[in-house]
Symmetry: C2
Subunit: 206 residues, 2 copies
DNA sequence: TAAAGTATTCGCATAATTACCTAGGTATGA
DNA sequence: TCATACCTAGGTAATTATGCGAATACTTTA
């Protein structure tokens, strides 16, 4: 499922309303959707991790700074790319941000064009990665609907156990394992064992 | 195949011999092996991409600077991690380096302890990733020994074709596909179809 | 040039796996 | 208590995989 620039939301987070407003105008001018927040906390409150989006935020903010925001996103398993801005440039801080996964770091003040160019690179990457991201989301959604026993069977299956071996390991009949696996494949919408294994790999289970 | 700190080489690249020598002493003191170079060019000349190593280098050097070195490594498909140092700190340059894949960026002058700590993080990651890196190398080696037909069968197999389907697609009997696949599995040292698929994923074929 | 080796191709028979139909026992919650 | 979901299992038919044997063509080497 491909997406376009128009489908991407840019979350602008800055405690200064002047910056928020001008950034919003600037970015909206390129066709992107913008939602702005005056703090990382209010942003996190409404966070929906399942839409294609990225963040443009100040690294230095009251209550919760950019690095703390990053930590929260990691905790929420949200890999939304972040572009940081900072008026108090410091290599040490920028290095920390990058090591924590920031995709870019821009010094204030900056040329509008400069930000737009960086933002565009980021957006292009989101568009490119989105199909895979979606697939992962779908797989995890399917996986969450498996019963505990089905998950056990699933893991044994993709870890190279024939149903007979799995049955022995679980102490149940091989027929029962078949049933669980059949259910698993149905729920995961896998048309074959191979597909199931590939799914497991994509979900990081292998 | 696990490795230890002692198995890792740190390539120190700096045009100032004072820095090279003091860094060498400093880093060797932690048990790591150090090889130093006065330019990126002399480093690239002797580069062996198949050993566990990382680079500690100045970003600003005559002839070839750190960013160009990074480009060269990408061209050589060498993913050796780089820690940059710079005495002329500039967020813009550090951001460029990070976006190009640098793992760290340190401002000169720095506390020896500071560098060692960052270097250690880097080394720990290398140790952690090494088994997987080795496995990838092994798989690619095995894969290169497959005959053209075997590669075809391999790709069809891991892409969810039963041997019957693959046979139809290739216009040959299903028995022949079986033979090719058996050979493939032997050459790849895969004990099952599952393993073969996992290998394909690891090699980035899926 | 002849021999050796490798790659590619199959058939047949057997073993293993999977699909499908059916169905009972056990929790958990409305 | 009834409904729902989960775990369990046997038997048979169909599909698939595997082991053994062997022919043809092309490349390399002695």
């Amino acid at each position: 499922m491909k997406i376009n620039k128009e489908d991407i939301t840019v979350f602008v987070i800055d405690d200064e309303y002047v910056i928020r407003d001008s950034l919003t105008l600037l970015i909206e001018g390129t066709g992107l959707t913008v939602k702005s927040f005056d703090s990382a906390i209010s942003f996190l409150d409404q966070l929906n991790t399942s839409i294609p989006a990225c963040i443009v935020g100040d690294i230095r903010m009251p209550y919760m700074d950019g690095l703390e925001l990053q930590e929260q996103l990691v905790i929420k398993k949200c890999d939304m790319p972040i572009i940081f801005m900072s008026g108090h440039a410091d290599i040490s801080i920028s290095a920390t941000a990058f090591r924590a996964g920031a995709v870019d770091f821009i010094e204030k003040p900056f040329e509008p064009k400069f930000l737009l160019q960086r933002l565009n690179e980021c957006v292009e990457k989101i568009i490119l990665d989105w199909p895979e991201t979606q697939e992962k989301n779908r797989l995890n959604e399917c996986y969450s609907h498996l019963t505990p026993r089905e998950k056990e069977v699933f893991l044994l299956t993709v870890n190279n156990h024939s149903n007979k071996q799995a049955a022995k390991k679980l102490g149940i009949s091989n027929r029962t394992v078949d049933v669980h696996r059949a259910h698993t494949m149905e729920k995961m919408q896998a048309d074959s064992l191979n597909t199931l294994i590939i799914m497991a790999v994509k979900m990081g289970l292998l």
